[in-house]
Structure formats: C-alpha cells, structure tokens
C-alpha cells in the first residue's frame, strides 16, 4: 500500500499529524512543549496565559477517578509579560505552537494577545469555557453568543494569527455560540473544554477532595459528550473543529474525526498513556488505516454524518 497521509490542516496551519497537546497539560515551559513535540504531537498548546500572574487554586488541584480526571487548577500562570519571555523562541519547539489566552474583560484578552507580539506562535486559542475559575470562562459569563462575539471580534482586530475559540460542553446551545465565534472571525473551534463542574468527596474525611471543592471533568467520561458536540458543530459551522475530550487511543481519534474534527486535542490521555501518547495514537491510527485500506486520514473526516 502507498504511503499513509496523516497530515491535516486546521485553517491555514499544516500539521504533520492530527494530534494536538491540549491547553493546561504540561504547557508551562517551552522545554516541556518541545519534549511533547519530540514525542510525536502535531502541534502543542500552552497553559492559558492571563494579563496578571496567578497562583491558581490550592492543592489538591488535579485528581483522577474511575472514568477520568477532575481538575481545578485555577489558571496558574506567570502573567503575559513573563510568559512571553518564556515562549519567546517558541519556534524551537519544532511544530506549530498555539498560545492559549484568557481574560475577564475583552480588553484583557486584547492586552494578552498584544503581549505576544514579539513571539512566533502559529495561532491563538481563546477558552471562553472554564467551569471552575472565578472571573474567567463560564463563571465570567463568557459562555453566551453575545460575549463570544464581542471577545472574538475584539481579538480579531489586533491579530492576524488564526483564532481558535474553545467552547464548553456544558452549554446546550454550543452551536449558537460557535456560530457567533465564526461570525466574529474565528478560524476554528476547539471543542471542548472540561465539563461540569463535578465534585468528588472523600467519605472518610467527609470533605470534597479538591481544595476548590469543584472541578472540570475530563478524560473517558467526557468523550461521548465531546464527540456529540463535535458532531453537532460539524453540521452547524463551516470552520474547522479541533475535537478535544477523552481522546487517548487511535480509535478515539478516528471516532472524533468521523464526527467532524479536523484534528484532535489530547490532555488527560497523557496521564493514561504517558508523554508519548501522541506517537502511540499516530501508530494506532496508521495501523487502522492500513487495515481498512485508507491512505489519507482526511477522507474519514465527517464520515459519521448522513
């Protein structure tokens, strides 16, 4: 059989394969992003960056359960000035790097994006969907079509880079919000952020384990919901989708692409299968393609639709 093609495009960004490191997993330093690239990722995303430094919530911030992970990290990051220094030579990573940008008011997003002007990121991702950090995402009212339109438009004016808007699985009208982002000039939708929030209680201590008490649910438990979101979005919008949520095997990635994703985000999968999960997933995708006589990964995109 001829050589397999795993490369995909998200907007105008060419990826050597469809796996993308999701935001908030390992992306604190350039060195770790480089290591993820060396372990096979097609692209990498930084930890979300805000205008001012943030310490985040107290520990425990991340725990696991039978069907996934619960986290309330609280957007710890050194603030855009220091983060821009850390990621100054981001091209060293060797694959396209996506900068995750957060804020409370639309001016904050603009400030952070402007703070990245000296860097060489390939795209900007804007999560409007965190379920567990006061002042950000859902807790700042950013999960509405209007807020999405306003924030996306404001950022659109100050950057030429492709703009990805990251949405929550916990909002029923996800397609309406995605359309608002598309109308405001977004180049792709990342679907989805963590769901919930959820809670896990230690019954001996009789207290929630996370210090913030509640946190976003990711991993296996999220996958069928993320897949449905991607499926719905594929019918509703014309821009590409990065399918994120519970992907940890090649079969999961293929499923996500059949729902309509152009590429897949991977977060919790790093825990399940190690830092080389990207390489493993690509090998599994290749094997499946060989077994099913498919030579170009792009031909399966949206295959699950009527």
């Amino acid at each position: 059989m001829s050589k397999l093609n795993l490369s995909v495009r998200v907007g105008n960004i060419q990826l050597r394969n469809p796996t993308i490191l999701a935001s908030g997993i390992l992306g604190v330093t350039k060195a770790l992003l480089k290591r993820v690239a060396e372990n096979g990722a097609g692209a990498v995303t930084t930890k979300s960056m805000s205008k001012e430094p943030r310490e985040g919530h107290k520990n425990p911030t991340v725990i696991t359960f039978e069907a996934g992970m619960l986290n309330a990290v609280g957007y710890s990051n050194p603030g855009i000035e220091k983060a821009a220094r850390e990621f100054a030579d981001i091209q060293d990573v060797g694959v396209p790097a996506i900068a995750s940008v957060i804020g409370t008011h639309k001016e904050d997003f603009v400030r952070v994006v402007e703070g990245l002007s000296g860097t060489h990121f390939s795209a900007i991702e804007i999560p409007l969907s965190c379920p567990h950090t006061p002042g950000f995402g859902l807790l700042a009212g950013q999960g509405t079509p209007q807020a999405t339109f306003e924030i996306t438009s404001a950022v659109r004016k100050v950057t030429e880079l492709p703009l990805f808007i990251k949405l929550s699985p916990s909002i029923p009208e996800i397609s309406t919000i995605a359309k608002a982002a598309e109308d405001a000039g977004a180049n792709a939708i990342t679907a989805v952020n963590s769901m919930g929030p959820g809670m896990i209680i230690n019954i001996e201590a009789q207290k929630p384990i996370l210090d913030y008490k509640v946190g976003g649910v990711t991993g296996d438990a999220l996958r069928p919901i993320a897949t449905r979101c991607v499926y719905d979005l594929y019918e509703a919008i014309n821009i590409p989708i990065i399918g994120t949520g519970g992907v940890s095997t090649g079969r999961h990635a293929i499923e996500m692409m059949m729902a309509g994703a152009s590429a897949v985000g991977i977060g919790t999968g790093v825990y399940y299968r190690g830092i080389d999960v990207f390489k493993k997933i690509c090998e599994e995708i290749s094997q499946w393609m060989r077994e099913n006589s498919i030579s170009d990964i792009n031909t399966i995109k949206g295959a699950a639709h009527d």
């Binding site: 997993i25 604190v28 425990p60 990290v73 990051n77 050194p78 230690n202 207290k207 384990i209």
Partner: protein, 269 residues
C-alpha cells in the same frame, strides 16, 4: 491507580529536633527510597513529603516546620488523620555493591533515611546550620556531622567535608538531598573525582503524576522522571542549580529567591 488521597491515622509521633517531627501511620504502600507522597489536610492544602521510615506497614514522614502547612502537621496529635496518595516519582537506584556515601543537607536527610536503612555499609554525612538541628542521632549512630557554626562535628559545609573525606576514602557513589546550591557543588565534586552521584531535586509539586507541568526542570518532570536524577541526566538539564518555577510558573533563580525556601537549611555557601 486512582489518584485520590486515602485517610490514615497518625499512630505515633517522634520529636527529632525543635523543628522536625516524624509522624507515623499505617499504610501498605510500596515505597522505593527517594519516592515521595502527597500529604493532604482537608480544606487546607496538599504538599509533597518523602517517606523517611518504613517498618513493614508502618510508614513515617519527617516534617520540618517551615510555613502554614508544616506548622499544621506539627500540631497533629496521635489519633488525628491525614490524607496520603502515592508513591510518586523515580527513587534512587540503589547499588549495595558499591562503596557509597550519603550527603544530607538540612531536612534533605529525610529523603536519604530509607537509603541508609537499605544499604549495609555506607558513610553518612549530615549537615545543618547548628547542632540543635541535627536529627536521627539515635537512629543512625555512625554519622559524620558538619555544622556551619561548628557547634557539632566538622565546621563548614557538607561539600567541604565530603571533599575532605574523598581525599582519604575512595567512594564509587554518592546519594544526596539538600539545598540545590549544595547538591550542585556535590555533583561538580563527584564529576571531578569520577564518582557516580544521584540527587533528589526539590521543585514545586502540584499534581504529582505528570500532568500539570508545574515541576518542570529543563523538560524533565520532577514528579515523574525525578525527583531523583543521575549525573548524565543532570548534564542535559540546564536549570539544575540555576532555575526553579514558582507556583505561578515564573522562572526564578533557585538559589536566591524569597519565595523559594526549598529543602530548608542552606548550609552550602
């Protein structure tokens, strides 16, 4: 494994020094010297500690009183509970056949205590600022002490003492834990004398299982690939001896930053 704390009851407490207590509890955790656990006080915080004592199902952690969390651990009484999860990280590669030396600076000796228990013939150096900070005096009877003020044993740093000892005694391996400045110098010394060396690094630990990236040291996760690193590994880690990340992820000088009072007592000048 599910990464959630399990509650254990404190069944014994030993005062090691005015600032260090060892808390004992029952657990069937399988622990390799050099690994660590996350200790949880509900509604307060969760922090990394090494297991400093293993006797069948009885584990102990030795806690230096430093800030809010460790102060609360010091206030615990027998019968109180704490949460633990782990073990995490890579431990020391123990080579009983080699002629070895352990070098502990400050509370760093806690991370080496189970190494000492496991290796039969070993030279032990414990360094502190002053005599009252020395711990485990009854537990390990043949320790070499050094204090900065000369109040016990050798006057000076552990690095000076080790340098002195290697002139007379040939070691094949050094295991060390303590302030990073000290470990950096010990690694330099070991390189000069062609001695193998493993260090246990201290970085801000958040998740403990390699997801958050907060404990990065030049692309290595202290909680997964570390906390123990060998000389060949350290040779590729530019940040060793130089940079650590604060809780925010900001890079700062590991030897000189007020928010990093990492493994306590800096007895390496």
């Amino acid at each position: 494994m599910i990464e959630q704390p399990a509650m254990v009851k404190i069944c014994d407490i030993r005062e090691e020094s005015p600032l260090v207590k060892t808390l004992f509890f029952e657990s069937s955790m399988n622990f390799i010297p050099g690994q660590f656990i996350m200790v949880w006080i509900p509604m307060v915080d969760e922090k990394p500690f090494t297991v400093s004592s293993i006797q069948k199902n009885l584990l102990g952690i030795s806690v230096l009183k430093k800030g809010t969390f460790t102060d609360l651990l010091h206030q615990k009484r027998i019968g109180d509970t704490i949460g633990i999860r782990g073990p995490y990280g890579n431990g020391f590669h123990l080579q009983p056949e080699l002629h070895s030396c352990v070098v502990g600076g400050g509370i760093g000796i806690a991370s080496l205590a189970t190494v000492i228990d496991t290796l039969p013939k070993i030279t032990i150096i414990q360094g502190t600022r002053t005599a009252s900070e020395i711990i485990y005096r009854k537990r390990f009877t043949d320790m070499r002490f050094c204090t900065e003020d000369g109040s016990l044993g050798f006057r000076g740093t552990t690095v000076d003492l080790l340098e002195d000892i290697v002139k007379k005694q040939q070691f094949q391996k050094v295991y060390t834990c303590g302030p990073e400045k000290m470990m950096f110098k010990i690694v330099e010394l070991c390189k000069k004398h062609h001695i193998a060396c493993e260090v246990s690094l201290d970085r801000y630990i958040k998740c403990g299982f390699g997801i958050c990236g907060q404990c990065d040291c030049s692309g290595q996760r202290t909680c997964v690939e570390g906390p123990v690193f060998t000389i060949p590994e350290l040779n590729t880690m530019e940040d060793f001896g130089r940079v650590a990340l604060l809780k925010t992820g900001e890079r700062v000088d590991v030897n000189n930053h007020r928010q990093l009072s990492y493994i306590s007592i800096d007895n390496a000048k």
